[in-house]
């Protein structure tokens, strides 16, 4: 597959899975076509932004008509590699890790948590969400060719585990710990820092007032 499309802005790339999901919804509702304006209302992204995003992939729509849902969907399916499942490992079967294992990411989605590890012997051997929990000591033996990992260990263990994961061949980490981990430059890390998201929301609430609340009449 041509890796030459590196021109697509990152902001656009982050919206693709969102478009894909809503297109799927429309498709299963039996809708045959959709305009950028309709899609805009559903995903809360400006319609011009949607058209711009789509245009990076060429002319996907028809003037005066809109987009054919089926065509667009199959285009994105290819673009997002929805036909091949990406296997994911999860490290740390605690509160968050358990929630993720119980959640079926594969519903609308090409990713599946294939294997889980924990350091707590009492968890090892149990099955959570259909995935057997392995001991973290066996990580190198059992992780196989999985290249994506979700990290939900205590923050003190994050850096150490990241290093082991990288050593074992992982090249993408979704890090839910508050630790900012250091990895070699060929490894991609996305941080999802829930405490910060909550604090930031509160900060915006207090310092960036939106339009005045309208009392009902």
């Amino acid at each position: 597959m041509d890796v030459e499309q590196t021109k697509i802005p990152q902001a656009t790339a982050k919206r693709l899975p969102l478009y894909y999901r809503f297109l799927n919804n429309l498709h299963s509702q039996g809708k045959l076509r959709v305009s950028s304006k309709e899609l805009s209302e559903a995903v809360k992204v400006d319609s011009a932004t949607i058209r711009r995003d789509f245009s990076y992939f060429g002319a996907l729509g028809k003037k005066g008509y809109g987009y054919n849902v089926e065509y667009l969907l199959s285009f994105f399916r290819k673009t997002l590699d929805q036909d091949e499942t990406t296997e994911v490992a999860l490290i740390g079967v605690g509160n968050l890790g358990t929630a993720f294992l119980n959640y079926n990411f594969t519903k609308n989605n090409n990713t599946r948590i294939q294997i889980a590890f924990d350091a707590d012997h009492s968890r090892v051997g149990t099955e959570v969400g259909g995935v057997k929990v392995e001991h973290v000591d066996d990580l190198e033996d059992k992780i196989g060719r999985v290249s994506v990992a979700i990290l939900t260990v205590p923050s003190a263990a994050a850096q150490g585990m990241a290093e082991r994961l990288v050593e074992a061949g992982v090249t993408a980490i979704l890090n839910f710990t508050p630790a900012r981990i250091t990895v070699p430059s060929h490894v991609r890390v996305h941080h999802i820092d829930l405490a910060i998201e909550l604090q930031a929301l509160v900060y915006f609430l207090k310092h960036y007032p939106l339009e005045e609340a309208v009392e009902e009449e």
Copy 2:
């Protein structure tokens, strides 16, 4: 408090809680000063960006010296309103909701989940993470003056619950459901869409190659 600081870029505002957390770490390690360069390595944000961010608040540092950790920390404590606790409601005590209730957001943080609601009678009355679970029918009665809500209900229930929350006075929602909810313009919604984050990570992995992995010698 002056709401006139609306000049601070949103990108900066989102980083403030991160700075605050690391400053706290440094402080408890007994560090007295820190340079933008050191901080940069810890939080993985370019040092020029850090200096620029800080400069929106005036001259917090000393040339040739860096920043005084204690001073900076107390400045951010005020700025982020860390002295008053913000009360938060959680709607939907399922997998994710339970994880959040069990997590102590207050550790380093001015937010606390104060009250939780669920529709499932078998959960109501139980206590999760020290928070009693109320029935969602009592939401309007019991939510009080809480203005921030975390939404972890099934996506089909998201829009309806959002409307009830807004009606009950909530003005900020952290939405973990895949549904893109519609709210009045005075309500702030932040979406955290975990399935999309995972898909986006996979997309970047495949289409935005980083530097070539170096085989060990």
